[in-house]
Each structure stands twice: as C-alpha cells, then as structure tokens.
Amino acid sequence: MAKKFLLKLFVVVATLALVVAGCGNDDDDAAPEPAPAPATEAPEPEPAATEAPEPEPMATEAPMDDEVVAAFVFVGPVGDAGWTWAHDQGRRFAEEQTGATTLFVENVPEVAEDFRAVVVDFIENEGADVIFGTSFGYMDPMEELAGEYPDVVFEHASGFKMNDTNFGNFFGRMYQPRYLSGMAAGAMTETNQIGYVAAFPIPEVLRGINAFTLGAQRTNPDVEVHVNWTFTWFDPALEGDTASALLEAGADVIAMHQDSTAPGIAAQEAGARWVSYNSDMSAFAPDAYITAPVWNWGPYYARIIEAVGAGTYSPGAYWGGMDDEIVTLAPPADDVPAEVIDEVIEVWDQIVAGTWDVFTGPITDQDGNVVVAEGETMDDGAMLGMGFFVEGVVGSADPS
C-alpha cells in the first residue's frame, strides 16, 4: 500500500513540476527589454504622447521612487498576434515614452488566487507603482487588491468597476475602426456576402458586428453580413473551419472577433478576402488581408504612467475612441480602391472631430424596427448594452 501511495505521490509531484515549468519562464522575460520597438500601428502620425490628461507640470508631491514601476498582467502569451500582443506593444511604447520600468507576466488565468499571487509579488518584491490588468476576469480581485494596497494604482481593461482613489478602468471604442473596416470590406466583396466569425453573443461583439455591417452598407448598400457563432475566444481549428463554412455558403470576405489567424488562412486558401482584428495580421495571409481594426494601448498606458509618476492620477472609466488613438485602423491592402480609402479617411476625420459617430440614425434592426431615429445618436449606455442586430445582418443576435 505504502509503495502504491508513494507512486501516486510521485505522479502528482511530477505533474506539478511540469506545470510549474510551464509558468516559470515568465520571470526571465519580465526583465525590461533592451530596445523596445515603438508601436507604430497607426497609419497616421502619432501625436506627441507626452500630454497627460490633466497637465499639472508644477505638481509638487514627488513620487516615492525616482521612476515609476509599471506591471502588466496578461491573460495570454505576448506572441499571440492578437489581444495580448497588442497590450504588450502598448507596454513597450509606454516604456519608451516615459522611461518607466515595465514588468509583465503572461498567461495568468482569470482565477482570483493566481492573479493575486502575481500582483502581490509585483508590489512587494518588485516595487510596482501601477498594475495594469488586461482581462475582464481580473476585475473582482483587482477591486480587492486596490483596497488592500491604497498606494498602488490599479487600471483594468474592459471592466466596469472603479473606486475614487486608485482603481480605474479603460477600454476603447473598437466599433469606430470596425465601421471603417466594414467600409473597405463592403467595397471588396463581389458576392455582396460577408461572413463574420463571431465569438460570443455579448454587447461588445454585437456592437462590432453592427458597426462593421453599417460600414459595409455605406460603400455597398446590397451587402449582407452572415454571422456564425463559435462560442470560443480561441480555438483555431474551429474558427478556421467556421470561416470555411461561411465561404462555402457564398461569402467572399471574412471578418472575425477572435484572436486566431486561422480564419484568414482559410480565406486565403479559398481565394477570398479577410478583415483581421486586434493587430495587423497581414503577414499570416497577405493575399487575403484587407485591413484590420486594431488596438493601440500605448498612448493611454504612457499617460497613466506619467500621471502616476507626477502624482496626479485620478481613476476614471475611460472609453476612448479614434480621437485618442487607442483604437485605429491598420493600413489597407494595396488593391483597396483609392476612392474607398479617401471615403474612409473622410469618415475617420468626422469621427475624430466628433462631428459624427457610428450609431447615428436612422438605424433599423433586423425586424425593421427603428432603433435610432434620424438625426439622433445612440448614447454610451445603449451601446454598452447592445443586444440586437442591425438590418443587413443574417443570423441571430440571441442564439440558443
């Protein structure tokens, strides 16, 4: 019996060793990169990112340390070419802009204990002054930790909780560049049928699909956007096959919401086109690529780090748009017609100037009901709770 028990124990220990080996590497990577590449995603020139939200150059309360230590907690690997990659580009940009020391850990699960262990280590052993958490599931542990460490700033991407002193949240109006990418896609489709590989039926995803569709209709009134749900954020085989299914059903352009590049590879194999997401994924399927709505977190990260360093930080619920360049459109493929690009830039300018936004009426839903009347614009609350599809989308906004 004892022998058997020992063997079981050995198995368990060996397993743990392997799992630990899987995570252990990250500390080495957390060392500051010698030469961070600036995040130069935006086709338009970057603004000088030195403008703090509330510039108080004479702030007298000097920070405790000489320089700010900013720590990033990532849900995925920085090489995912998608969500986490974009955040890491932002980290590199902010490090170069501010001279702050940045640290990061990849692949931190959305489990309170795991997240807490990483953050406590950052604060107690690395002297972190500001923690950026980049996944929705970190929200509750971040709220708790913000209470326990009042001297540390906590900034949470994609969440909605905050406090008055040291815990804020931030996100971007991705629907704006999605609209622009839809304009390009609408101009490129020949079958007037676009396939959309959709993740989960939540407001963020619905908003993206609707904005994309409205954009496509602007350049192509006959276009239909066919939505297939995968109920995954990341399953390349299923997402690639879903793109194939949409292409087989008659689509000749694929758009998507997940992190994987598989839909693009499927589109390229079928001789179809592809609007990627998160980052410029053109290298994965260069013939299929049209453009991509992308994240550009760097300027925001730099602003927060500077505010923390200057002692001027105050938490907010930030939902920035293209005017702040937290979201933008990646460069278009060479064969997107010049007049389409001109039109995209025209709308881009209107969005940035604040004279027009995507969900401006008249907008009707799939059943023909007017959701936004002519001349009106949907407010943020309605956008954040969006639960319908606009006319022109084929598929269910509330799949069983």
Binding site: L7, K8, V11, A21, C23, P77, A81, P236, E248
Partner: protein, 318 residues
Amino acid sequence: MSEAALIGLFVATVQFGTLVFLAALGELIAERAGVLNLGVEGMMTMGAVSGFMVGLETGSPWAAFFAAAAVGSLVGGFHALVSVVLGADQVVSGLALTIGGLGLAAYVGRNVVGERPETQFTDLGIAGLADIPWIGEIFFDQPPVVYLTVLLGLAVWFVLARTRLGLAIRAVGESAATTDTAGHSVMALRSVAVMVGGAFAGAAGSFLSLYMAPGWTEGMVAGRGWIAVALVIFGAWRPGRLALGALLFGFTLALQPRLQTFDIEVLGLDVSSISPALLGVLPFVLTVVVLVIISWRHRHRPSVAPAALGLPYRREER
C-alpha cells in the same frame, strides 16, 4: 443549401474524422493491451507544438509529422514507465499526462506562439479521381495524412486481428497473468502499445498544427483528445467500428460551425437555430448512448471492454 456548402460539410467531416480517428487508433492499441491512457489530450498538444516547431526549422511537413509522432511516443513512454513499469494508477498517471502535457507544451512553444508557419500539408489532388464531381473533392483531394491514416487503420486492424503480436497484445489486455504464464513480457507488450499509441496521438496533434489550423497556440487541441478517448469506447475497441464512429464524430464536429448557415427545416425545426455549443457535446452524448446500448446487449455476457483494462500487473500479486 448550396452544393459547395454540402461538399464543404463532407470535406470537413473527413478531416475532423481523420484527426480524431488517428488519435483514437493509438488509444485503441493501448487499451487493447490493457492500459487506459487519459493523456491523449496532452500527447496531442505536445505533438502539435513539436510538429509546428520542427516544421518551422526544417520546412518539411513530413519531418514535422514524424517528429511529432516521436515526441508523442516519448510522452506516452512516461505513462508506460509510471503505470506499466511502476504499476501506478493509470487514471492518475494519464490525467497527469494531460495536465502536464498542456503545461509543458506551453513552455516549449512559448517563443513560437503566433509565429507564421513555414510549411504545412497541402491537398493531394489524386490524378483523375479528384475531378470526379462530389466524390473527388470529398475523398480524393485531401491532405496526405488522411490517406496515411486510412492505411494505419487497416494496419492496426490487421496486426491486432491477424498476427501473433496482435494476439499477444489482445491477450495482455484480457489477462496479463495468463499472457505472462505463456511466456510473453507483459511490461514490454504494454509499454510498446502505449508508446505506439502516443506516437499516433502526437501525429494527430501535428495534423492540427500543420494543416487544420496552421500555427501554434496553447490549448489549440481544445478537447479533441477527449473526443478521441470517447471514440474508443464508442467504437467498442474495434478498429472497424472506430472508423465508422470517427466519421460520425467528424460529421458532428464539421456540423458545429455549419449548421447556422443551413437554411433547412427538419421535422418543422429550423436547424440553424440549434445551438453550436450544444453540438459540441454531441460526441460525448453519443458515446454515453452507445455505452448504454453495449451494456444492455451484453447484459448476459462479459463486457466488450478489454477485461484487464486499467488494471496494473505485478507478478505474484492479485
């Protein structure tokens, strides 16, 4: 529903079927030798990452495929060492393989996540046959792994059913003590079966990272290793039934993204409204149904599962 959509459904059926068949075939060999290996998911994941990395290095999909098989068999060797040689609990060791394999693969592949593939398998349009309408595209314009897997299925059937080695493997799965008495090495037979099974799982993993979703990211096997384990039960531990089951499971996997595009009604039900999430559990539901049918049909006879499945063997211990 268009012709292209229907053909696409069957093309994907064959590919997903190949994926789970190859992995399940390996598990079948191990289980027929009496060793349950719940590490298929881990072995496939290790195969996916190592195959992708070797593909990046060498530019050859075949080098990647066989490297993945070798890695799969090494990982399987760990299970053989722990559960066959040392006689530890097969369930615990197998689960350790899955959990550990996923973690180790994440570590090994940390620098190639999201990397662009250098090479991948391409469809093999078989001259003359690939041009036949319907049939050609579905059966004769697939990547070479599909045909290799069919051959492997025949080979496994032949070895198990028609050779002395196969007899010994089946015997050790029914009664290790009897096989031992007959002069065969239980340890050697079982270890080899587990390692060959691991090679199949690793190769299946590389089919994923070199063809179905070229590239590597953590969790890309996404539960298909468990579908392979279920498939072995569904196939009642027989290669022929396994092949049929693989086509059925492959069909449900291919249906999952496609059903939403199908504008048809079955018995008054709009099929496009069936949840794709629900379709994802269909293979497991089918497996349970088959288990119930099997146990009902065999209620007066011994189970169809290898009698010694899951039982470690130590000489002079009972």
